[in-house]
């Protein structure tokens, strides 16, 4: 587990000032109303963790603005006093990105308005606190939907999705958050409002909207988001294939991808995950003796869909699938999906904590990497359950454990660290959709050269010269120091 869990000394000193200064709390209460400023220890506890197990960090204050204007006023006040802040959506992030060690948390959950749905142009204007699944429900009557569907979609917010560039099972065909955002209005850390991209045209100039997406709260707060919508596909087929070896299942994935068919989703679950699901209340009837199951979905025009299904079925059988189930009706399809959708819930029931890892490898390396992950798990005596987006090589090795047991926690951290390095070794990356946050900081040096990290820091400095927005996240602090030192030597800002 990375050791770079540090907020800079400067930030800590400022945080101390915050704690001392109830004047700030009072000033914030003036802006948002006293109800929406949380400062008592018991209230702050609710904000001391996110989806990353084993980390706790208590904010000095929590403020919950109710409008774009209130966000700006809050951010300006914090800027005046040079106080670091952490934007927070639903806190479902899995990389520790919403942890606020002494900083002020700006919670965006009150901003849940869907301002406008332009069905003709397939675009919706929403506030950052809108929950992903609730947007889906609102869009249903229009025959439209918003494609990115992270596993936490019942709780996670569009603002959080933008911050992390969230994905989900269906981004194999439809792309991640980046591919579905037309424009964002951002409150910069200095309190200035600016719109990046455009909801009505394709502007030229630098792609600042693309740059902002996935910036993990370090570039400011999205106050307005224009999301692109897709028409609900007229027809869908779901296949579930089971295999007696993980390698066979991985070979089927490569074969399907090579045919040119782009499935809407192509998900894999290994035996450990299948058994966890089948032993839980979420049992979906997956064969518990299978080494792996592959869930494939194709959608689009009805004509030609069955031809695609036949090709995928053949790929699975050629790779050694024992059995392939095909569902057309929505109830039947939901049954096949049930095990996949509830996998994290089922895994969460095994032990008190569940670490959900996230890495990407080239698709042809899946068999090799899955084998290595298995070996690493055995060596460290931890049970790794794999449930992941096989179609784009996006692995989610998960380990259920008791984070309060230091010996167990150490074993888990050691295993995860080895798994990450195995993914890097084969040309992969350390995160496909969860973000770097705090959790992955320690791997950034393995992935990027010092000048590359320094360039990222320089770019962050353009949005946030004081590095007050989500301090200490994404890029290791030492890279920023080096970059700043270099600039200072040159007498430039």
């Amino acid at each position: 587990m990375p050791s770079d869990h540090t907020t800079s000394a400067v930030a800590t000193a400022r945080a101390t000032r915050v704690a001392a200064g109830s004047a700030i709390a009072a000033a914030l209460a003036q802006i948002v109303g006293p109800r929406w400023v949380k400062s008592r220890a018991a209230e702050l506890t609710a904000y001391d963790a996110d989806g990353l197990p084993g980390y706790r960090a208590t904010p000095s204050l929590v403020v919950l603005p109710g409008s774009r204007d209130e966000i700006c006023a809050v951010v300006r006040l914090l800027a005046q006093h040079q106080i670091p802040f952490v934007p927070r959506g639903a806190g479902t992030g899995l990389s520790g990105g919403a942890l606020a060690d002494g900083a002020v948390v700006i919670g965006l959950n009150r901003l849940t308005r869907i301002h406008n749905i332009d069905a003709g142009n397939r675009i919706a204007h929403v506030e950052p606190g809108v929950v992903n699944a609730s947007l889906a429900r609102t869009l249903a009557p229009f025959g439209l939907y918003y494609a990115p569907d992270p596993s936490s979609q019942a709780a996670c917010t569009i603002g959080g999705n933008v911050a992390e560039n969230a994905g989900g099972p269906h981004c194999l065909k439809y792309g991640v958050t980046l591919n579905h955002i037309a424009a964002i209005t951002v409150c910069l850390p200095v309190g200035e409002l600016i719109t990046l991209g455009s909801p009505v045209s394709e502007p030229d100039g630098y792609d600042l909207c693309g740059l902002f997406i996935g910036s993990e709260g370090c570039f400011g707060i999205a106050t307005d988001i224009w999301v692109r919508l897709l028409p609900v596909p007229p027809d869908v087929r779901t296949l579930l294939a089971d295999f007696t070896s993980v390698t066979d299942a991985a070979r089927a994935v490569s074969a399907i991808i090579a045919t040119g068919i782009v499935p809407a989703a192509l998900e894999m679950m290994d035996q450990a995950t299948i058994r966890a699901v089948e032993a839980s209340i979420y049992a979906a009837g997956y064969p518990v003796d299978a080494a792996a199951v592959l869930l494939a979905e194709v959608d689009g025009l009805s004509i030609g869909l069955d031809a695609d299904v036949r090709v995928i079925e053949q790929c699975c059988r050629d790779a050694g699938a024992r059995n392939v189930r095909i569902a057309t009706a929505s109830d039947d399809r939901a049954k096949l999906w049930q095990g996949r959708k509830k996998a994290f819930g089922a895994l969460g029931r095994i032990a008190s904590h569940l670490v959900v890892q996230d890495a990407v490898v080239p698709r042809t390396k899946l068999p090799e990497v899955l084998e290595r992950i298995h070996d690493i798990g055995e060596r460290h005596n931890v049970r790794v359950c794999n449930v992941f987006h096989a179609g784009d090589g996006n692995l989610h090795p998960n380990i259920s454990y008791d984070a309060n047991d230091p010996v167990q926690a150490d074993r888990v951290h050691a295993a995860m660290s080895e798994i990450m390095r195995a993914c890097i070794d084969v040309g992969g990356t350390i995160t496909g959709e969860h973000g770097v946050g705090l959790d992955k900081l320690g791997y950034m040096d393995d992935l990027f050269s010092e000048p590359s990290l320094a360039a990222m820091c320089a770019v962050r400095g353009v949005f946030d010269p004081e590095h007050r927005a989500n301090p200490g996240k994404v890029v290791p602090v030492h890279s920023c120091r080096e970059w700043n030192a270099r600039w200072n030597l040159q007498g430039l800002p």
Partner: protein
């Protein structure tokens, strides 16, 4: 001639030390695009070749100077392709295609350039070699400098290597021309097309002059590309028949779109919402008509609300020359060329955005820069503090000029 990244980085670092502006040149297709841009030539065209191609991963990494033609040839051998069809055609280098974020009709279904690029290597204005993104199809590690460099026209770094996503070639790929029914309005025509159960790979509306130049029709028409498995393509082709006058044309008609663009032309990209497409099309047509730019080579991607407008000009002095109205070759009359501010400003309807790609040097003064905001200027300063990369190409802000002067005074190391 420097071909390795290190050699290029040394050139950039020494240019930075001496404050020498560099003009980045790959295949040379874009030299007349953008604003006047002076500088010592930095050739990256020789920095070419495929670095890594694993067909099973559907990803490819190539040096920036590799042409799309070479990428096409290599990937075609494995039944794959890079689904980018920029206006510069297959002679374009991949580096320039990404630097200019230049896309074409395929983008409506296969994604824009920003959706295709997975990672890149580039040299910043300080001569440092950086990498962003990676070679895998999904990646959120670190801030997204890949998107920042895509479409930055080389002003934030010299792109030297690129990783991109490939697609498998469809089983069947064909093109159709649908004549415009003169009795129906453009709106109703597009609406009935939108109601059909089809999912085209590409769908372009062509102006009369462009349709004539392509030799596919004698008036405004739609060019549709259908691809996929046999069942799907045949069924969709049958659906198209509902629109009346439908004719199959060679699928390379789409490729020829880019080949028809004259070497010397005024080029603009006008975008608005998809529902405003017909209105934007008419507005631009009327504007060009009123400016006596007869029969422009114009095409539009309906679902993106995007128009690409090409007005050929005489090579000689760069000034558009008058021609007879019935001449298939379009010209902006010399008399009207003097009225650039009006011409440039009024081409787009209210609410639409116009991005000029090619204009006579003196006309650029009437086009506001798209990188004059505080953030863009800051990014420029952060990645190219001495402003040596393609200086002026996107329009310098006043702040930029002040910085340049300051950088000069301080004698940057």
């Amino acid at each position: 001639m420097p071909v390795t990244t290190t050699e290029l980085a040394i050139r950039v670092a020494s240019a930075r030390a001496s404050g020498t502006a560099l003009r980045i040149v790959g295949g040379g297709s874009w030299l007349d695009a953008g604003r006047p841009c002076e500088g010592e030539t930095l050739h990256v065209g020789e920095c070419a070749g495929i670095v890594e191609y694993v067909p099973g991963d559907l990803t490819l990494t190539a040096r920036a100077g590799t042409t799309l033609a070479e990428l096409n040839a290599t990937t075609a051998a494995h039944g794959q392709w890079l689904a980018l069809d920029p206006a510069a055609g297959i002679r374009a280098t991949i580096g320039a295609t990404i630097a200019t974020a230049s896309d074409g009709p395929l983008a409506m279904s296969m994604g824009r350039v920003r959706d295709v690029v997975l990672g890149l290597e580039c040299i910043t204005g300080t001569g440092e070699i950086i990498r962003a993104g990676g070679r895998v199809v999904k990646n959120v590690a670190g801030f997204d400098l890949v998107r920042l460099h895509t479409g930055a026209w080389g002003t934030l770094g010299v792109i030297t290597e690129v990783s991109m996503r490939l697609r498998a070639r469809p089983d069947v790929d064909c093109a159709f021309v649908i004549a415009r029914d003169a009795r129906a309005s453009l709106e109703s025509r597009l609406a009935s097309l939108g109601d059909l159960p089809i999912a085209p790979l590409a769908l372009e509306l062509l102006s009369t002059a462009l349709a004539q130049a392509l030799d596919v029709h004698d008036g405004v028409c739609l060019l549709v590309r259908l691809a996929g498995n046999e069942d799907r393509v045949h069924a969709q082709a049958a659906e198209l028949q509902a629109l009346g006058d439908v004719r199959e044309v060679p699928v390379n008609t789409f490729e020829r779109l880019s080949m028809l663009e004259p070497a010397s032309a005024l080029v603009a990209r006008v975008t608005h919402t998809a529902t405003q497409f017909a209105h934007t099309w008419r507005h631009v047509s009327d504007h060009l008509d009123a400016s006596e730019c007869w029969q422009p080579l114009m095409r539009g991607t309906v679902t993106r609300g995007l128009l690409r407008v090409v007005i050929p000009v005489d090579e000689g002095d760069g000034e558009p020359a008058p021609r007879a109205p019935n001449d298939a070759t379009t010209r902006v009359p010399r008399a009207h060329a003097a009225n650039w501010p009006e011409f440039v400003r009024r081409i787009a309807p209210p609410g639409a955005h116009v991005a000029w790609e090619r204009l006579p040097d003196h006309a650029w003064a009437h086009v506001p820069s798209a990188v004059n905001d505080r953030l863009s200027a800051g990014l420029r300063r952060a990645l190219d503090p001495a402003h040596i990369l393609n200086r002026g190409l996107l329009g310098e802000s006043v702040a930029d000029a002040a910085d340049l002067a300051r950088a000069g005074r301080h004698g940057l190391p």
